[in-house]
């Protein structure tokens, strides 16, 4: 593993848990640490997270750039901590290999349990993108906490949930605007068929001393069976008057008019349906690849 990381020139394999890491609270196991020096562009950095417990710590200096791609081999219990210096730009992409290969599959069954906990702190002008896809687990929990601590920091988070079997998803995105003129854009899409159930919570908090913030939050859900279930909870806590915040949530099934249109062009029901599901997922999948 160490060799593999060194090959990309930016990672240092650390067998010890990073400093300040609460082993009692979070997953331990394999620990990975990545440091990108100020001003450096690390390009795409693959992170092969093994099945089981692991932790990833990323620290980026001022103006550093990188795109981290995490591909899990099996069910994870992982913790990711990201620290972005001034004007640093990072993307953290995670998804299952199967889904990246075959876009159209709605997984019916998966691995037993997965839990990820990801936190990030952004200094002034830093930019972070969370891109996340969850589908291959029977029970998946994902918690994202992003703190925008420096003026002008921004985060863009997209999560896609897909389940066609008995999956249970619990996703919680918390974004804290702790500095002036920070921006956030959160988008969670869920495609639920079979007996899949999901709870999606989003919380955007604008603190008292953070004027000029802009925040958007969107939770969209496509339900494909009568047994599928979504609990959508988009929350806002606004403590400063000088904001522009909005959130929207929609839940529905495949649009009958669009189906009619496609079928009137000669597509059978199944392919029309799968085309519309693809269209729903496209904005998310486009970010993943």
């Amino acid at each position: 593993m160490a060799m593999k990381l060194l090959k990309y020139g930016i990672g240092i394999f650390m067998p010890e848990a990073p400093e300040g890491f609460d082993l009692n609270r979070f997953a331990s196991g394999d620990a990975f640490s990545y440091t990108v020096a100020a001003g450096e562009d690390a390009g795409t950095v693959p992170i092969d997270v093994p099945a089981g417990r692991s932790s990833v710590r990323i620290s980026m200096g001022a103006g550093a750039k990188a795109r981290f791609v995490e591909i899990s081999e099996g069910p994870r219990e992982s913790v990711v901590e990201i620290d972005l210096g001034a004007a640093a730009a990072a993307a953290y992409v995670s998804g299952s290999r199967a889904i990246m290969r075959d876009r159209a599959v709605l997984p019916a069954n998966g691995t037993p349990f997965e839990s990820v906990h990801r936190t990030a702190r952004l200094a002034e002008g830093a930019k972070l993108e969370w891109i996340d896809e969850t589908s291959t687990q029977d029970f998946a929990r994902a918690v994202f906490v992003t703190r925008l601590e420096g003026e002008g920091a921004s985060v863009e988070a997209t999560s896609l949930l897909r389940g066609g079997g008995k999956q249970r998803f619990d996703v919680f995105h918390e974004i804290v605007h702790a500095a002036p003129r920070t921006t956030s854009n959160l988008r969670v899409g869920s495609v639920l068929a079979g007996d899949a159930k999901a709870i999606v919570r989003g919380l955007v908090r604008v603190e008292k001393d953070a004027p000029g913030c802009i925040s958007r939050q969107k939770e969209e859900t496509l339900l494909l069976s009568d047994a599928a279930e979504i609990d959508a909870v988009p929350m806002l806590e606004i403590g400063n008057q000088d904001v522009r915040c909005s959130h929207a949530a929609t839940v529905g099934r495949i649009d009958a008019e669009k189906m009619f249109y496609l079928m009137s062009r000669g597509l059978d029901r199944a392919s029309a349906e799968s085309m519309l599901i693809d269209a729903f997922m496209e904005p998310y999948l486009a970010k993943l690849s």
Binding site: A232, V233, P234, M235, E237, I238, G239, T250, V251
Partner: protein
């Protein structure tokens, strides 16, 4: 009314109490209330059962803090020194004066079918115009209705709409409820002029627990308006009312209320409607007063094509925490709900929208749309939005939208360039913001609400 005006214009009347129960709540107090009303056994049993549940139920662990509310420092039953009357002339002067200041007798002459007025724990005035009485409409004091219409009341009182075990403060309400309104509209009767009740809490450390039960029989229609106020005291008081609406097949109820309790009132109110096939319920709620409000009117759409429409506006000024929202449970096919909520926070006030929309398997073809807008007037004010959507079927469409922001600089500039002062421009924008709600209120209430908002907005610049 802003509390500084309340000190001047809204003084508590003196010497109007005949009897007040001792402070705090015990089984004796519950028995005393029931005995003084000569209630049937089933009602006493309901009260005692609810009281037992209340004692062992903890305070809610969510929402605004209720720390300042000392339930042992409340007088749960305050009987005014007056018999219920059908003529304002026989209502004692001091009590009548209060209602005259509030404009109730005046409004009755011009715009209403019937009026009830409650002072502390009991109704002091109740009157229904004869034409409606002749059509079989019942508009009664709730206490009287228990005696006069035992069957109707027993069937609907805290049964399938709001059961007494629903939550801690409904248990308290069930144990000590007193006064309120009972309305029954017979099949097919359309009461086209609103009925009104006004609730006034006068006593210090008082508690008001009025119970409103409205039954709109098949194909009938009724509009009901409720106003609430209390003078300002130094000690906290509690209002834990209960409103139950039964909308039978094809019936329609429009329920409007403007609640303007004084700012040390804890307004922990419960309102719910059960709606049968093709029935429609409309909720219009204005929340101005109270220190803490927790109020989430709920509609259970249990008949096919039932509808619920709700409009709400909340105003949170200094020291106020307005925690309001709407709930809808879609439990039948092709049901529809719309929720429109607006809030204004000013001077450090906190307003929260806490809503719930659920659609079960039984709700195929249902639609729900929720829209929340919040306006933050100044620094330090807070706006929260906590919507919860629980959708367990693919055969529905649900949408939720919310926006939070301040008054736009451009809008302000536009109005000020037309010669308005900044203060006037801000007031105009706020009036425009709440207009969709004000518009759906009857005229006198629209005027009252506008005045309230204007007085709350007074001096918001600088």
């Amino acid at each position: 009314m802003a509390d500084q005006f309340r000190d001047v214009y809204d003084k508590a009347a003196e010497g109007v109490t005949r009897h007040a129960a001792e402070l705090g709540i015990t089984e004796d107090v519950v028995r005393e209330i029931s005995a003084s009303k000569n209630e049937p056994d089933w009602m006493l049993e309901l009260r005692l059962k609810a009281f037992a549940m209340f004692k062992r139920t903890p305070m809610p662990s969510w929402g605004p803090s209720l720390e300042g509310l000392d339930l042992d420092q409340i007088t749960y039953f305050v009987r005014p020194d007056a018999e219920e009357s059908q003529s304002w002339a026989t209502v004692p002067d001091k009590i009548r004066e209060t209602f005259e200041k509030l404009g109730i007798p005046e409004a009755e002459r011009h715009a209403l079918s019937g009026v009830g007025a409650q002072y502390d724990s009991e109704m002091v005035y109740h009157n229904l115009k004869k034409e409606w009485e002749d059509k079989g409409v019942i508009f009664e004091n709730m206490d009287v209705a228990v005696q006069k219409y035992p069957e109707l009341v027993k069937k609907h009182f805290m049964t399938d709409c709001i059961p007494p075990h629903d939550h801690k403060f409904i248990m308290l309400h069930a144990a000590v409820w007193s006064g309120g309104t009972f309305i029954y509209v017979p099949k097919g009767v359309k009461v086209n002029v609103p009925l009104q009740a006004y609730f006034r809490m006068n006593a210090e450390r008082g508690g008001q627990f009025e119970h409103t039960l409205i039954i709109a029989d098949e194909g009938s229609e009724v509009q009901y308006i409720e106003g609430c106020s209390a003078p300002r005291w130094n000690a906290s008081s509690i209002h834990a009312g209960c409103v139950e609406l039964h909308v039978l097949k094809g019936a329609r109820i429009r329920y409007s209320s403007v609640e303007n309790w004084s700012k040390n009132t804890y307004n922990l109110n419960t309102k719910r409607a059960v709606v049968d096939g093709d029935g429609v319920v409309e909720w219009i709620n204005g929340n101005m007063g109270s220190g803490v409000t927790m109020l989430y009117p709920c509609s259970i759409l249990r008949g096919e094509r039932a509808q619920s429409h709700s409009l709400g506006v909340a105003f949170a000024g200094p020291g106020q925490n307005q925690d309001t929202g709407s709930k809808v449970i879609h439990a039948a096919p092709n049901t529809t709900s719309t929720i429109r909520a607006k809030s204004i926070s000013k001077g450090g006030g906190i307003s929260s929208y806490r809503g719930y929309v659920s659609a079960t398997h039984a709700a195929a073809g249902s639609k729900s749309s929720v829209n929340c807008d919040a306006l933050l007037i100044d620094e330090g004010s807070v706006s929260n939005t906590y919507p919860f959507m629980k959708i367990t079927t693919d055969k529905v469409e649900v949408a939720h939208e919310a926006t939070v922001g301040k008054i736009g600089e451009e809008e302000l500039f536009y109005l000020m360039s037309r010669g308005l002062s900044q203060d006037a421009a801000m007031r105009m924008i706020v009036s425009g913001f709440v207009e969709p709600i004000v518009k759906s209120l009857p005229l006198e209430y629209a005027v009252e609400l506008n005045k309230l908002i204007e007085s709350e907005m007074e001096g918001s610049v600088g």
